[in-house]
Structure formats: structure tokens, C-alpha cells
Amino acid sequence: MKRGGFLSWALWFGYAFLYVPIALLVTYSFNESRLVTVWSGFSTKWYAELLTNEPLLEATALSLQVAAVSATLSVILGTCAGMAMARFGRFRGRTLFGGMITAPLVMPEVITGLSLLLLFVAMEQVVGWPDGRGVTTITIAHTTFTLAYVAVVIQSRLAGMDGSLEEAAMDLGARPAKVFFVITLPIIAPALVAGWLLAFTLSLDDVVIASFVSGPGSTTLPMMIFSSVKFGISPQINALATLMILVVATGIFIASVVMARQDRQRKRDEQMAIQGG
């Protein structure tokens, strides 16, 4: 049993490593003192200060907007890409396509950021668009790098899905587009939700690419956090971090409850279909 002991210790150590820093961060956001690491009493004043920080609220609104638009775009494009890879068999340029989908997953952000900026500058010189850099360029950049993640999530869902339903619909005379919207889409819906959430979080998290492709007046929340963290830690950032963690945790909780319910519903339907048949 000695090895089992070691394994559970390793597991606990791993979880402690992952969660203690976050727990400390949340705890110190309620600290009264400005010195972040000395506890001097419970207070919510940093949260109150946060709500009156005008530039920060603007940056948050901008980031949420960019994240929502780019996540939606990348779910649309990523679903197409995932379908193409998982369902369309061979087509011309498939190898290049596959490469362009997996490469962004591991591409260092500094390279993606620099290359997109140079593209935008060159495009502006040649076709006059985009006129300067700002929300549009950040949204395009975020769509590009999150698209890969969404495509991979959806492709693996499609690969793991039972194709016989689609075949049956096709045999019964449904056209490909109808099969997709009536059969495939409802089945892969959880993957679409997961992909959207993933793209949204990645966009909301990115500081490097946004710094390259943003212009004056378009500072995103991560850019603002980054520049203030460089000058040291402040309890206000702790409070902000706590709120962000809270939002993410709530989102994941709701998503998993909804998905679990859908899963149960689906199982029940299948059961009834079997009994009825």
C-alpha cells in the first residue's frame, strides 16, 4: 500500500499547488491593509473602490464586447472547420488546412501578435483598411487564435459521435444542410457551448496579442491589469481577480448543470424510443 500512499500524496500536492495561490488571492482581496500580504482585518473597501474606477470599467466593457463577438465568430468558423476536417473526407489543401488549425494551438503569442500587426499595417497601406487599429483588429486577432481551439473541440466531438443517425437521415432523403441543422447541430450543441466559453475565456485572458494589435484608446482589461501588475501588487487587483474567478466559476457551474440536465433528458428520450419501438 506504500505506492498508493505516494500517489494520493502526489495528488493532494498537485491540487494544493493548483488551488492555494488562488485561495490566497481571494482571501487577501478582503484584507483591510494596503500591504497585500499582511492581514489586518476584514474589509470590502477594495471592491467599492473598484466600482468607481472609471477607466477600469471601460476596459472591462471593451474586453467583454471583444470576447463575445470573437467567440461567436470563432464558433461559426470553427464549426465549419471542424465539419470540414471530420466529415468531408479528402479535399484539396486538406493537409495545409489541418496544419493551419493545429499550429495556432502552440504558436507563441508574441509571434501571432507581431505577424497580425504587420498584416494590418500592410493591409492599411495597400487597401486602406483597417483604418488604424482598435476594437476591430483585436476582434479579428482573437477570432483567429481562438478559432483553432474551437475547431479542435468540435472536430473531436464529431469524431466521437455516432454517424449512423446522420446516415439514416440522409437515406431518408434529407439534404446535407438539413441533416446538419436538424441532426448534427443539436447533438454537438454542448461542444458548441464549450467551444464558445473556451474562446470567450481565451479572448478575455489575452494580453500579448491585444497589446500588439490595439490602438490608442482601445485598452483591454488584461492590458490594464498587466500594466498595473508591473508596478507591483495592489488589493484592488485582488478584488478584481476574485470577481473574475467568481464569474468564471458561476459560468462553468451553470454550463455543467445545463449539460448534465440535457444529457439526462437525452438518455430518457432514448429509453422511451427503445421502449416505444
Binding site: L18, T37, G98, S115, L118, A141, A177, F181, V229, I233
Partner: protein, 309 residues
């Protein structure tokens, strides 16, 4: 809704082309073309202008002969600077070193975790894995930030060591290579655990039983059975950690000292502080050259996994 569906049904085969073309064109324009531009600009010259690089192509009009010539200017000074200056070579080597140490630390912490989760009761595996992935959903920046308060002098670790009487006075771990190792291991750990878990979970436990029946000690059967069979997971996890770690910028910038040179940081400074776009492009190409083999290998591994499904 059904109206929309039937309208879309009429699209038929033509629709298939559109489905491929949309993401294809997007990726060509915003992923592939930018690399070609970076490659081009890395041969350009830095000038004081907007944008700050000299054009590569110029149309030269010869009025006497009435002809126009296309002139292409390529200069290699950026690359000569990269190979001639110790700063770049040091940054290059240091990035590889830091990425390797990070990968190794992730493996050391992640392997036992993945193994323990794969050996847990099936009903508990999902929640246990969820706990590993959950931190990944919270902001990367915030997670790095959390370590500043822990590692700095008078921070959590420093205070703990002092109150235990192990040290006198504050201990500063922040702004060193070790802080970067800790921060990067922390952020990349889920990327290591995920592929490891998915290979270890598929591993047939009867193989280990057979080894035990034949008198093999647990540690030896781990070395001769489990470890070789989990190699695909080790490779996939290591690539997922190593490749982005080489080009990492945020962690060394926030946790590292001024002498924690990394190539991502050098690129950032060339671009934002020196405003030297051509040299920054040269650094990007150099970084890409360093990563092209691991990235190709990663795609090969990914492709094989797809084929095996």
C-alpha cells in the same frame, strides 16, 4: 426556423464548398499571409517613418528608356545582428533551458497526478480531472499575479519561513529564474496532465496484474510496462508545454529578474521599446525556426491520434 432550414437545404453541394472556404480563407489571410509578411519584413531596414521599415519592393522608372524596373531590396543585417550579438544567442539558449526545466517539472508533478486519477474509481475520475482543468479557465494573468504575493520578499513564503524560524529576514524568490519556473509550471500543468491522463486511462490494468503474477515488483512493472505504454501521452504533454513555453513573454516579464532573458521578451522589447520592427521580425523568424521541428512533430502526433480514432 423550418423555412430557414429548407432554404439552406437547397444549397446542396455548393454549400460544402462554402463550409470549407470560410475558415480556409480566414486562416489563409489571418494566419498564413502574416507569416510571409513577417518573413519579408525581417529582410527590411529600420527607418524613421510610419510604418518604421523600408519597403522591400520599389518601382524604378527609367525616363530615358521609358521602362520601369522592379527593384527588390533584401538586407541581411538583421540576421547578422541576431547571430553576432551575445544578447540574442543567450536569450535563445535561455528560452530553451527554461522551457525544458518547465516541461520536466510539469512531468514530475503531472505524471503522478494523472496516474492517480486514472487509477481512481471511474465515477471519481471525471470530477478529479475537472479540478485539474478548472484553474485553466481562470485568467492566466491573474494566476501569475497570485504568485507575486507568494514569492516576493515579505510575501507568504517568506513570512512562513521566518515564522518557522528557518530564516531570519525576508526571502526574495521573486524576480529570479526559479520564480519563472514555478509560475510557468503552475500555468502549464493542466496541459501536461490532460494527455497523460487520456493515455493512462486507456491502459489495460490486466497487463500490470500479469506482470505482478509473474513476480514483477510494482516499481519494475511501472518502469517496464506503464511508462513505455504512456509514452505517447508524455510526448504530447511535453510538446504542449515546451512549444508555448519557449516563446513565453508574460511570466518572465512579471516574475523574472532583469537578467531572465527569454526570446519572447527580446522580441517584445525590440518591437515596443526600440521600435525596430525588422529586427523584431527577424527574432520571430528565429524563434519559429527553433520551434518548427517540435511543431511539425506535434502535428504528426495529432494526426496519428486522429487516424487511430
Amino acid at each position: 426556423m423550418s423555412g430557414v432550414v429548407s432554404a439552406l437545404s437547397r444549397v446542396g453541394l455548393w454549400g460544402r464548398g462554402v463550409v470549407i472556404a470560410m475558415p480556409y480563407l480566414w486562416l489563409l489571410l489571418f494566419f498564413l499571409v502574416p507569416f510571409l509578411i513577417v518573413f519579408g519584413i525581417s529582410f527590411s531596414e529600420s527607418i524613421v517613418a510610419q510604418p518604421p521599415y523600408a519597403p522591400l519592393l520599389a518601382w524604378l522608372r527609367d525616363e530615358d528608356a521609358g521602362t520601369t524596373k522592379l527593384q527588390i531590396l533584401l538586407n541581411l543585417t538583421n540576421y547578422l545582428r541576431l547571430t553576432g550579438d551575445d544578447l540574442y544567442i543567450l536569450a535563445y539558449l535561455n528560452s530553451v533551458k527554461i522551457a525544458l526545466v518547465t516541461t520536466l517539472l510539469c512531468l514530475l508533478i503531472g505524471y503522478p497526478m494523472a496516474y492517480a486519477i486514472a487509477r481512481a474509481e471511474p465515477a471519481r475520475r471525471g470530477p478529479l480531472m475537472m479540478l485539474v482543468i478548472l484553474p485553466f479557465w481562470t485568467s492566466f494573468l491573474i494566476r501569475i499575479y497570485a504568485w507575486i504575493g507568494i514569492l516576493k520578499g515579505n510575501g507568504v513564503i517568506s513570512n512562513l519561513l521566518e515564522s518557522l524560524g528557518l530564516t531570519s529576514g525576508p526571502v526574495e524568490i521573486l524576480y529570479s529564474d526559479w520564480a519563472v519556473y514555478i509560475g510557468m509550471t503552475y500555468c502549464y500543468l493542466p496541459f501536461m496532465v490532460l494527455p497523460l491522463y487520456s493515455t493512462l486511462e486507456k491502459l489495460d490494468p490486466t497487463l500490470l496484474e500479469a506482470a505482478a503474477d509473474l513476480g514483477c515488483r510494482p516499481f519494475k512493472s511501472f518502469l517496464t510496462v506503464t511508462l513505455p505504454l504512456s509514452l505517447p501521452g508524455i510526448i504530447a504533454g511535453s510538446l504542449l508545454v515546451f512549444i508555448p513555453a519557449v516563446g513565453e513573454f508574460v511570466t518572465p516579464e512579471l516574475l523574472g529578474g532583469p537578467d531572465t532573458l527569454m526570446i519572447g521578451r527580446v522580441l517584445w522589447n525590440e518591437f515596443f521599446s526600440n521600435r525596430d520592427w525588422p529586427v523584431a521580425s527577424g527574432v520571430a523568424i528565429a524563434l519559429l525556426l527553433l520551434l518548427v521541428v517540435p511543431i511539425m512533430y506535434f502535428q504528426h502526433v495529432q494526426g496519428r491520434e486522429e487516424g487511430g480514432r
